[in-house]
């Protein structure tokens, strides 16, 4: 074993890790927005809208995300939309995460009793105000653990973007390995970096959860 040799590639490791972070955060934020909007529309949208959202969810949850990335990177250009590797991966992963996020948020919304909605309506609030102020916060709390684990899967799943050379951590690893032929060492380091990122995010989410969801709940 020889880790010494890898030291001179630290910039590549760091850059790869930063791109992994960027991909993860973009997909998580965009995906969560898709999740909230999609779940809201599944409840109140017209039938064609609901059908469109359901189709989107089924397509993205039941096909390999690697192929989703390929489709957006290799096939969309044929339709005149050419995206660079990073952007294509970000779009694909956002759509992938969004499909799961809709189902997660929907479960959260379903967990809020109808009586809460009625109480809001009876105070003269609009449907949007009831959703935003009364239903959504406790709903998000109820599905926060599910969201966190889906986020971890997303972070690890960004490694698929290496297949279109998006420059993230796994792609950096392949590059370094091809230069050093130190497969075991390279992938051990990369594994450790993924592991550290996941642990750090879990700690961060725990802190965010404590700060955002302060109200006591009956168990």
């Amino acid at each position: 074993m020889n880790f010494q040799q890898l030291w001179r590639y630290q910039d590549q490791f760091i850059e790869g890790a930063l791109i992994t972070l960027a991909l993860t955060l973009i997909a998580a934020v965009v995906g969560l927005a898709i999740g909230v909007a999609g779940a809201a529309l599944l409840r109140s949208g017209s039938k064609p809208v609901r059908l469109a959202i359901r189709s989107y969810i089924e397509i993205f949850r039941n096909t390999p995300s690697l192929i989703q990335i390929f489709l957006i990177f290799f096939v969309l250009p044929a339709a005149g939309l050419k995206l660079p590797a990073f952007e294509a991966a970000a779009v694909a992963l956002s759509l992938y995460f969004g499909a799961y996020a809709i189902e997660i948020v929907r479960a959260g919304l379903d967990s809020i009793p109808k009586s809460q909605v009625e109480a809001g309506q009876c105070l003269g609030l609009t449907r949007w105000e009831v959703f935003r102020h009364i239903v959504l916060p406790p709903a998000l709390r109820n599905v926060y653990p599910a969201f966190t684990s889906q986020f971890v899967l997303l972070l690890l799943g960004t490694s698929l973007a290496s297949q279109v050379a998006a420059g993230e951590l796994f792609h950096a690893a392949s590059f370094i390995e091809s230069r050093t032929y130190r497969s075991f060492e390279v992938y051990a380091v990369v594994c450790a970096i993924y592991f550290a990122m996941v642990i750090a995010f879990k700690a961060l989410f725990a802190v965010i959860g404590l700060a955002a969801f302060r109200w006591p709940v009956r168990r």
Partner: protein
């Protein structure tokens, strides 16, 4: 003119007709108590009055305005008609203060500076000013129900509806909620209550309405109704709740 006029209201859930032509008048400042067995349509009638349920036929007017689930100014209407539920329905993620001020801030556009004094004022009226910063989950059932009443009072309603508001409470907590309601009655609030508290119905209400099988079976002043029930159904009901 009566504050609330209900004319021949019918309402079905699927095949089951719950209200079979109900008519009722409530004058301003009147305390009307609706009593009757489970399934007699009491709560449904109450929910129709603030358009939580859509009526199939007949009419309901409040302050001269026809009530329907699709009415144009439903939002403004709901602000004038407060309703308190059996299960309190406080918002668990908001402090007592925010529970009370959420709707005034959003619908009446009161300023942030006015919000806390408003909450303190209405909490004072239900005797809970010291709980303004508490979480609902940390309060007893009786306290939660009083906060729910304060939340309605913050909207300065013209009419209050109470749907079995003491039914979910431990017996020793019922009194504090009834006392708040008695205070409101004394201050001239128009109130319609569905309740099993016969003592309250007898002592505070101006009018008792006995519902049976989706109809107003008997109505009148409490003393008269309790002393001389005209129908065997009311007589048997009174005997069963004694």
């Amino acid at each position: 003119m009566a504050l609330v006029e209900i004319r021949d209201v019918r309402k079905s859930f699927g095949q089951v007709e719950v209200l079979k032509g109900v008519s009722l008048e409530v004058k301003e400042g009147e305390i009307v108590t609706i009593i009757g067995r489970s399934g007699s349509g009491k709560s449904t009638l109450l929910r129709c009055i603030n358009a939580l349920e859509k009526i199939d036929s007949g009419s309901i007017t409040v302050e001269g305005q026809a009530v329907s689930a699709g009415m144009a100014n439903l939002r403004q209407f709901r602000q004038r008609v407060g309703i308190v539920f059996q299960a309190f329905n406080l918002f668990p993620h908001l402090s007592v203060e925010k529970n009370i001020t959420l709707a005034p801030l959003l619908t009446r556009k009161i300023g942030k500076a006015e919000a806390r004094p408003l909450a303190l004022d209405v909490l004072g009226r239900v005797g809970l000013a010291d709980k303004i910063d508490a979480w609902p989950e940390r309060l007893s059932g009786g306290q939660q129900q009083r906060v729910a009443i304060a939340r309605c009072l913050a909207m300065a309603p013209h009419l209050m509806l109470f749907d079995e508001v003491t039914s979910a409470l431990d017996p020793e907590l019922v009194g504090e909620v009834l006392k708040v309601m008695e205070d409101m009655a004394r201050q001239g609030m128009t109130m319609i209550l569905v309740t099993h508290e016969m003592g309250f119905a007898r002592n505070v209400a101006n009018k008792i309405v006995f519902m049976h099988q989706g109809k107003v079976w008997e109505e009148g002043p409490p003393a008269e109704l309790f002393a001389n029930p005209k129908t065997p159904e009311l007589r048997s009901f009174i005997n069963s709740v004694k």
